[in-house]
Symmetry: D2
């Protein structure tokens, strides 16, 4: 049993610091670096890539909407063609800096509102998959388990990784309870760790709709967060719990290789 | 005798059109595409790369200062480290879109104030050369003949191309007469064409300081402009004149290969 | 009979020119100046305000979404609170430059996607009306005839102006045929002028849905455009036609004052 | 004896928080709010203005260079005309939001690189003074004691306020020791408080060049900082020390009024 732990990093900008990148890095295996349109800048990217290389972490591009002020979390009505070109641009920008650090990109994961829209909008999902495949067919496309994004990646002939969230509540149909609604966030460290184990070991999750039903949730990577108080401690205990249950935490490419057997 | 004709293109942005890209393209051999910080956007870049590919033109990245409002023509006081990272970023962004069009980048030429500062500031020149070498050692670095930028490229082990301007006035020390001063611009089509021939055939230029002296000016590429009235006609006649004098107009890489003999 | 002719101006940015501001200005009575988030910059604004003052035209702020690349025409999912603050900001920015030109602002008209959304979304419309009323209760709020925006302005105690389009096709319910659908644009100068007269004299418009029905359309201002080929000629003939039918073209405030009688 | 304490606030942006605005506010009398080009956004501005109003603090606009990534601390080569228009724009943007909070602006203080350049460049200083006078002749222009900026304000007929820094080292000519050089920063709370008292009570400061000389330094306002560890405690003790020496800490307008006697 293997699983990848991924985290969004490199989200600082100019004079502004966001997240605890240095503290969270030792506990994850894949990092998604912001590409400068919704967060991040060339100096931040360079530092983040260097730190990832030193720790031996796998790196992915984390493209988002061109909306720094809204942190890429506000829906924007872009055409698939616009999304494709913005994503190409952002992957390329990260690639340029990665070249200078000798880092080879492992994956691409859309950010925020783009991630959420592409999960259910096939045309946007295909636009993203086209962009990824155009840049480098060996890149892994990461998307929510069971989403249009994963489907579009498969159809484009890409390796794909299904992502799950141990700190978010799921509904019976496998979708996330939207932020702001009851049950959306799992804040209890014990419960988060239990969810992680259930996903990694059984490929299942207990839904948070009151029914207590357990649904299938197969994922190759778990998303963890580094920007809230207590986040680092929570990720550390989650990782320990996974390993205590015999789950090996490894970079995404290794997880996919193992899964291919 | 070979020489490359290069032109800055892809400078439109969102709803704004700049230049006559489609009209000038048939007369040049290398295009420098804006990277989105001083001009250009992902949609504009994609269109420009596609048109260049269809016409078989060589493509370079044209990075500049992060100042869209000032079109990258206002000096900004950036550290060499900042310049290096901004340039990496911009080359990468163009590379990402070029991948989608099957275009392999040929060269990098800094834009506007960055070009002018790096021509005489060794630290900035070295920062740019480092960035180019980090991304891909086979990229050609383009800079003004006799500049720190060309020197830095050579020291970084890059192929370099010296650039000259047939439509600008030179001083006795080989530098350009600054815009806004008498003699800075050569607007007579006949004189521009004569300058081009003198540079390409003799490796010399007549200075515009009243002395009428002729100085050496060896260049592998001539910069032409497409954004002024009559520009296209001027470039067409310049190219015809070159060919009439036995100068073959060819992409930069071919010019450098021939020169290496 | 009086009517105002308004036009969106000041949409150039940095090195980029958009529209034929100087040519269209002599034919309109109110100008809506872009505020820098979707178009326009401080230098462009200053020039536009100066030209408007010299021609004695009334000036309004034309706030839009913070999306220069999309020209404010892409929907963005902003909260009413965000919209209120962005609008306050933009009116203020124009006001600052207007102070330097001795221009007193007459009105506010939202731009592009913000205009369209606020036409039918009461919460956004109220946010805009709150912003306008907060800045200066004597500002006129301009919105499409029959819209939530006009309604919100009235409820906020503002003077409001209903706007109509002589060069757009209307549906039977009084809404515009969306761009991209058949009948959306009226390009025949004769038909545009006839529409203008019908709106100004009769307060009616013939719908373009094939039925040929005539519906009420009461408006105090007509929007004209200056950024298409032939636009200036079209506006000139429209204005001549209005005057030939006894319609006096006058700034919005005069139209409203007359209407108040 | 009266003196004003001013602090730069409202420098957060979108998802990014900078400074400890809420904690520092109770100890100052004038706040300089960022205008969105080098820091700040409409939501941040609104919150900052509201908090200032509730605490009864005087508010000023804090315009800077259009360089969010560089926090307005990188020199940009703008013409005086550009600076004038950018400043008008920024004062206006703050004014728009201030109207919504019922706040009347008291002063204008340039930020960062613009402040430093305008301190010694008469043309830039005059451009800023022109902008301030154009918007509202009752605004106070704040600049470093003895600077071109103060001089330009006086020549433009504005009320001006000379600013001093208790936490920075001065040279014998009255200029600040540049950041990065020995003695530039005074970090000892005791010394900062002693400097403040010396400035407020005696109008003098001991220079930090080794000579121990004491030079005149007349100022109506002291700049304090809220964005470093221990900043709040330092400002609190500075204010207590001032009051213990009989210096009344009051908003700038009151200080100037008292001084006029």
């Amino acid at each position: 049993m293997l699983i990848d732990l991924n985290c969004d990093l490199g989200e600082s900008f100019g004079p502004y610091t966001l997240g605890n990148d240095e503290e969270i890095m030792p506990y994850v295996t894949s990092v998604n670096v912001a590409c400068g349109l919704h967060a991040g800048d060339p100096m931040v990217l360079r530092r983040t890539l260097r730190a990832a290389r030193r720790l031996g972490l796998a790196v992915g591009a984390h493209p988002g909407f061109p909306d720094l002020q809204g942190f890429g979390r506000r829906n924007m009505d872009l055409s698939p063609q616009e999304v494709e070109n913005y994503v190409l641009w952002q992957i390329g920008a990260v690639w340029g800096l990665a070249q200078a650090e000798g880092v080879v990109l492992q994956h691409v994961k859309p950010h925020g509102a783009l991630y959420n829209l592409a999960a259910r909008d096939g045309a946007l999902a295909q636009a993203i998959a086209r962009a990824v495949a155009s840049v480098d067919r060996s890149l892994i496309l990461m998307g929510p388990a069971g989403s249009q994004l994963v489907q579009a990646g498969l159809e484009a002939g890409l390796a794909v990784a299904a992502e799950a969230f141990a700190d978010r509540g799921y509904r019976a149909d496998g979708s996330l309870i939207p932020r702001g609604q009851p049950g959306a966030l799992v804040t209890d460290a014990e419960e988060v760790a239990a969810n992680a184990v259930q996903i990694a070991v059984q490929g299942k999750i207990r839904v948070r709709d009151g029914s207590g039903a357990v649904i299938p949730l197969r994922a190759q990577t778990l998303c963890v967060h580094g920007d809230t108080p207590g986040a680092v401690q929570l990720v550390r205990s989650l990782r320990q719990r996974l390993e205590a249950h015999g789950v090996h935490v490894a970079p995404l490419r290794d997880v996919l290789s193992a899964g291919a057997v």
